[in-house]
């Protein structure tokens, strides 16, 4: 018992306790037998407990760093063409070779991570933001409003993700923002559904009645009491959806509907070279493909681990 209390106090210093739905996380760690004194020990414990997830986390961080410091990581201009070295094999000058226009592939893959991550995080953020707003309002207000909103969500959900994303991307025209929106909209329904289900459950709990009896307004109750209690499933949804969003961006770009030139995009790199050069210059397909797979695999591993940590149904303790 004293150990639990001690760990609780300690976990607070790491800032986890202040973070809504993560509040119970620290006591779970304590139950799992963690003796954490600081961030480093907590990180070490998590690495031992979830090696795959932490590996995924490390790769995601690495991608983020590469994207942030792209000009320093790859010193060559990803856009400058040089017909003299068209389709050069990988060498020390060009780590991943060059494409048919003589552009350095390593540099293009490195700069392409900016596009992939921006679209992945951006579209996930958008779908969470609007999904939460719609789900919260729908579940809390209820009645006719709920009925109409849910039928609209049904309509969105009845279309396959990629088809809807393609239709939207084609209708709005190519741009970075439009790609984010096109990917976010088909993902809205699941976020909204989860948030609505959570709201329906939470609004019947006694602490909501207690908040009403204290004189708190409905709007404030929804934002202060319902939303923070739904944080855990939302984080799970967002982190597991990240890989999917990156994949959809690659698919859209492959189909020519994604992020336009001159932004380098992994998906478009594949489509530019897949048909013509896959036999003569396989590195043109190999390296962007590996980048996509690695990013998606890492974010999925991370997402699974976050779910294991936060989803109450996955918890082994209590």
């Amino acid at each position: 018992m004293s150990a639990t209390v001690k760990n609780d106090a300690v976990a607070d210093e790491t800032g986890l306790g202040a973070n809504g739905g993560l509040g119970e996380f620290k006591s779970d760690l304590a139950l799992a037998g963690a003796h954490v004194k600081n961030r480093w020990q907590m990180a070490w414990f998590l690495t031992k407990r979830f090696p795959l997830g932490m590996g995924g986390f490390a790769v995601v961080i690495a991608f983020c760093l590469v994207a942030a410091f792209a000009p320093w990581v790859a010193s060559q201009d990803p856009l400058s063409t040089n017909p003299g070295i068209s389709l050069a094999k990988p060498s020390w000058d060009h780590l991943m070779g060059t494409d048919f226009m003589g552009r350095d592939l390593f540099s293009r893959v490195v700069h392409g991570s900016k596009t992939s991550l921006a679209v992945g995080f951006g579209s996930t953020f958008l779908s969470v933001l609007f999904g939460v707003l719609i789900g919260l309002a729908s579940g809390y207000i209820g009645g006719w409003f709920d009925l109409v909103v849910q039928r609209f969500i049904d309509m969105l959900q009845s279309l396959p993700t990629l088809i809807l994303a393609m239709a939207m991307a084609a209708a709005m025209g190519p741009s970075l923002t439009n790609t984010m929106i096109a990917i976010a909209v088909p993902r809205l329904p699941r976020m909204a559904r989860i948030m609505r289900a959570n709201t329906l459950y939470l609004r019947e709990l006694p602490f909501v009645d207690a908040a009403k009896a204290m004189g708190m307004g409905e709007f404030r109750i929804a934002l202060r009491h319902i939303l923070p209690n739904s944080l855990a499933p939302l984080i799970v949804m967002a982190s597991t959806g990240l890989g999917g969003a990156i994949l959809v961006e690659a698919s859209l770009s492959f189909l020519g509907l994604g992020v336009p030139e001159p932004y380098p995009s992994w998906g478009r790199m594949l489509s530019e070279s897949a048909a013509e050069y896959v036999r003569t210059a396989p590195w043109l397909v190999l390296f962007p493909g590996i980048a996509i797979s690695l990013a998606v695999f890492a974010t999925n591993l991370l997402g699974d681990t976050v779910r294991d940590l936060l989803d109450p149904r996955e918890r082994t303790s209590n």
Binding site: E24, P206, G215, M216
Partner: protein, 351 residues
């Protein structure tokens, strides 16, 4: 000598200072309109509470006690519930008629409530200090720092040890008793005129119950708050209440001062409830005939489409055709002692 009489004021009678009741409930009726029919959860309930007074509402589960409290706060779940009739006067003002915004300003400020379940009545993701200071920020326009200071003061008043440390703790780190103290602190934060306590000690350990009750009542006396204590525990009633209302099937069946009720109950249902209480005497054989606890035969009726007569008639061993024909009127059988029974005069010798 006079000093002693000054210090030791009699605790049972009504406080002399209060002349007009702070809360008056008149003919309050709350119905639930369900597919099975109309459920009369609260049916024609009237009572009044004076400042500093302790009124107990007693009855079995499902008799409408909690719904009465929620109706006073206008927090009846709607739909399906609705307050269909009656007036609730707080300091002479009918709060069933004010706007929702005005009502919100009164909840937690002038009338507040302590709930039955301390385990789930606090939000698990916010710290105690965060939730407690909100009461001050909602109603008193205090800055966050002032609110936090007042919160610590409140926690000290409800005798939570190390209040500064508890402020940053989360509900799951507190025991049931500590949580109920925190709830009490929240309810009394703005020094309300009326406190509705809905079985505040039911979910707690027996040893903690007395402490919590003690804290609530001591603070209530200090602040001059009127308390409506909802309970099914006659032990709690005997210890605390000035006056008692007995409810059955959504209706008031008896009302009297606590002493009077225990000495001369006038309704067969009250008799049944008192008879169902275990006595220490019955254990040691001095009461051979009462060794077995009495029970009230039958079950609490479903409140859907009740028959016309007395709601208690199906379970009452004295019921006659008269009882089954019409609900008895509430009659003052003695000074301040009301009962709703056709036969109380015959059964218990009138007033």
């Amino acid at each position: 000598m006079s000093q002693i009489s000054d210090v030791k004021a009699p605790s049972t009678p009504r406080p002399a200072a209060a002349k007009t009741p702070v809360l008056e409930v008149e003919n309050l009726s709350t119905y639930f309109f369900t597919r099975q029919g109309i459920v009369k959860a609260v049916d024609d309930v009237s009572f009044s509470v004076f400042a500093g007074e302790k009124l107990a509402i007693v009855g079995e589960s499902g008799c409408g006690k909690s719904m009465t409290a929620l109706s006073v706060l206008r927090l009846v779940p709607n739909p399906p519930g609705r307050i269909v009739a009656g007036r609730v006067l707080l300091d002479g003002k009918d709060i069933l008629k004010v706007s929702e915004a005005e009502m919100r300003g009164m909840r937690g400020n002038q009338i507040s409530m302590i709930f039955q379940e301390p385990m789930t009545s606090l939000n698990p993701v916010w710290s105690i200090g965060n939730q407690l200071s909100e009461a001050f920020m909602l109603h008193q326009n205090l800055s966050q720092n002032e609110a936090l200071e007042k919160s610590i003061e409140m926690l000290r008043l409800v005798k939570i040890p190390e209040p500064e440390r508890r402020m940053s703790e989360y509900p799951h780190q507190l025991s049931g008793g500590m949580r109920q103290r925190a709830m009490t602190a929240m309810a009394l934060a703005c020094k309300p005129k009326v406190l509705l306590a809905d079985e505040p000690t039911t979910a707690l350990d027996v040893t903690i119950q007395a402490q919590i009750l003690d804290i609530i009542l001591k603070l209530q006396e200090e602040l001059g708050t009127a308390v409506v204590l909802i309970t099914h525990d006659f032990g709690v009633v005997a210890e605390t209440a000035h006056r008692v209302i007995v409810m059955y099937g959504g209706k008031m069946v008896e009302e009297a001062t606590a002493e009077e009720l225990f000495a001369r109950p006038l309704h067969p249902y009250t008799h049944g409830l008192l008879g169902a209480m275990p006595h220490l005497d019955s254990m040691d054989g001095r009461w051979p005939e009462a060794r077995r606890l009495q029970e009230i035969p039958g079950m609490v009726p479903a409140l859907v489409n009740l028959p016309k007569g007395c709601t208690f008639a199906p379970r009452c061993s004295f019921a006659t055709d008269e009882c089954r024909a019409a609900f008895p009127p509430r009659v003052e059988k003695g000074p301040g002692h009301y009962a709703a029974c056709w036969h109380s005069d015959r059964l218990y010798g009138g007033g």
